[in-house]
């Protein structure tokens, strides 16, 4: 509440805007938490590595090679990170399109999460570009390669970030106490949501479509014309599992921000999300089976890659699917969380299999990431969590909106 008081004071004089912002930029809370103690050195090392990467080229930091042009930064940061950000479009769909009011309490935090994920993980794409300054070429239009799937994906990233920012902007306006702006911005929400869902459908599947031309390079167990659809469906439960996972952490860490009422409804929300996960996982599993039968890939099952494929499909799709169903029946929160974590691991495994492990699987020299690539990835995740925490502690995301902003 104190924020809104400050914000309201702002209208009394121009000068206090700056003092308000200045005070907001000061850190809140303790500096020496375990998370900070781990993340600060990681971030510092990561930044140094990024400097080296730009000074000496990608080869100085990564294990990328002529055989493996895309490694951890694309396969994990971009392809997997964006899948996990899928929660935003699913939840906005339920809240604004289906008008399911019960999910309203989680919409802001999910959108914030999605937005930050795109900024940081899609942003990680820039680290991976050999000539990042030329990224303006496909944007300002002096060179449009419109027949490229990557062109579509890149543009969608950009537009989707804008849509997410618009969806989130009322929270920023509330933080700043800008009443008129808030009104205008909330009026744009529905448009942004519709655009956002459309874009998400296309670029979540587009990330899979990127690999369609690598027909002979990806192991037959993972290559199929269905990659785009599989990627799209898995982004639904990847995103929702992330919402469940992140929610259960946020509700502990930021419990002071959450009202009694929201605490209660949160359990109910989690169970409903578990149900959606179960159903989409089922569809996904079913498609995997169809795909497998259709591809006639039986002979691979005896090989090492075949075993690994079975681990993925049974251990990380079928198992969480069963767990989600059970948890929903029994209303068991712990089971939901276990299932969510398994599902997330499964999505990571799947994306790694398509982009790295199954890619040029028969090459004599296999790619594995260097510790430097891993540290940079961890640094990006850490910075994202810092920004997330900064926003949560200041803007009405988990806590209720100020009274003047009630519809």
């Amino acid at each position: 509440m104190s924020n809104t008081d400050i914000a309201l004071n702002r209208e009394n004089g121009r000068k206090s805007v700056w003092s308000f912002l200045a005070s907001e930029f000061k850190p809140k809370g303790k500096l020496f938490t375990p998370f900070n103690l781990i993340s600060i050195p990681v971030i510092i090392t990561g930044v140094i590595l990024i400097v080296i990467r730009f000074a000496k080229g990608l080869g100085a930091v990564t294990n990328l090679s002529q055989e493996t042009p895309w490694g951890l930064w694309i396969g994990f940061d971009v392809v997997t990170g964006v899948a996990f950000a899928g929660g935003a479009y699913v939840v906005t769909f339920m809240v604004y399109i289906l008008n399911l009011k019960k999910y309203h309490t989680i919409v802001r935090v999910t959108v914030l999460n999605g937005f930050l994920a795109y900024v940081f993980y899609a942003g990680a794409l820039l680290l991976d570009l050999g000539k990042p300054w030329n990224v303006i070429n496909p944007i300002i239009g002096n060179s449009f390669g419109v027949s490229s799937v990557l062109f579509l994906v890149a543009w969608h990233f950009l537009l989707y970030m804008i849509a997410e920012l618009i969806e989130f902007s009322p929270a920023i306006a509330e933080w700043l106490g800008a009443k008129r702006a808030r009104k205008i911005l909330s009026g744009m929400t529905l448009g942004a949501v519709i655009l956002g869902i459309t874009l998400s459908t296309l670029h979540q599947s587009g990330l899979g479509a990127l690999y369609l031309t690598a027909r002979e390079k990806i192991h037959p167990l993972w290559y199929s014309e269905w990659i785009p659809i599989l990627f799209f469906i898995s982004s639904i439960f990847a995103g929702l599992s992330m919402v469940i996972f992140e929610g259960s952490i946020s509700y502990k860490v930021f419990s002071d921000q959450i009202s009694e009422k929201d605490h209660k409804s949160h359990h109910d929300i989690i169970h409903s999300l578990a149900k959606i996960c179960a159903v989409t996982l089922f569809v996904y599993f079913f498609m995997h089976v169809l795909n497998f039968v259709h591809g006639k890939n039986y002979e691979f099952l005896g090989t090492r890659m075949g075993h690994w494929y079975l681990v993925e499909v049974i251990g990380f799709v079928l198992l969480p699917l069963v767990l989600f169903f059970h948890s929903y029946r029994r209303r068991n929160l712990l089971l939901v969380k276990i299932a969510a974590v398994l599902t997330m691991l499964g999505v990571i495994v799947n994306r790694m299999n398509v982009t790295i492990i199954g890619y040029n699987w028969d090459a004599p020299v296999q790619y594995y990431p260097t510790w430097k690539e891993i540290v940079v990835t961890l640094a990006i995740i850490s910075i994202e969590i810092w920004v997330f925490r900064w926003v949560i502690n200041r803007m009405p995301v988990l806590r209720e909106a100020p009274s003047w902003a009630k519809d």
Binding site: G57, L58, S147, G187, G191
Partner: protein
Amino acid sequence: MSINRRNFLKALGLTGVAVGTGKKLNAAAAVKKDNDKEFYAILYDSTLCAGCQGCEWECALEHGLPDPDLEDIPEVGKIRKTNETRRTVINVFSTSKGEVYVKNSCKHCNQPACATACLTKAMYKTEDGPVIWRDEKCMGCRYCMVSCPYDVPKFEYHSSNPDIVKCDMCWDRVKEGKLPACVEGCPAGALTFGTRREMIAEARKRINDNPDQYYDHIYGEYEAGGTSVLYLSPVPFEEIGFNTSVMNKPYPELTRGFLYSVPAIFVLWPAILLGINKATSRSNNQIEEENE
């Protein structure tokens, strides 16, 4: 609570933008029709190749690349690969008809996967056939490398301003009416340059004139949808290390279905979403009113 008119118009406006983008994508996603101009092509006849690496030397000289490594010469059992310092290499294979030399480089596909993949058109199929790479456009995403079925484009991983390196059929020379450096420099006459039609006819003729000497197949006539480097061999092509699992369709076709569905989704999705939104908000209002 229901959608007011302003919201509706805004949503519609945004959708309009989206549809516009979708349309544009559609128009350009259709691959440009081949015009009347014929593609140039190189015919490589491995039965004539003596493995002297003359082409490697000429290529290095022409493009300012380091001289070929004298220690690293073609040997049976060793696969030399092109990389960021060499655009073409000779390998030798032990086959049912003795040792056979093979030159490897970009195939200059008729519908190149690399150029379709490139989001900046840095990788570009010229109207004359050579597939070239343009420094000032490239952003170094390496999607061309992922897409090329022959793993041809190479990347300078140890440079802060890295280039993509691959054969460009000596585009600068061809433009001026000169022969590609390797063709000009081949002392054995294993390389011939001309239009693609002429080269296919020539290859056919050689096979017909000497059926015992050649395996009856022109590699590149249909592979990957047809390429502008054509190969003749005395033995089946898998014996000399060729990728025979490439499909005969052009590779860009693999993503075409996806790209075609884009405009449809851009038109349908927003309309459907808006419809559902109106339907659900109306029923919600009714419930609320009844509750009152």
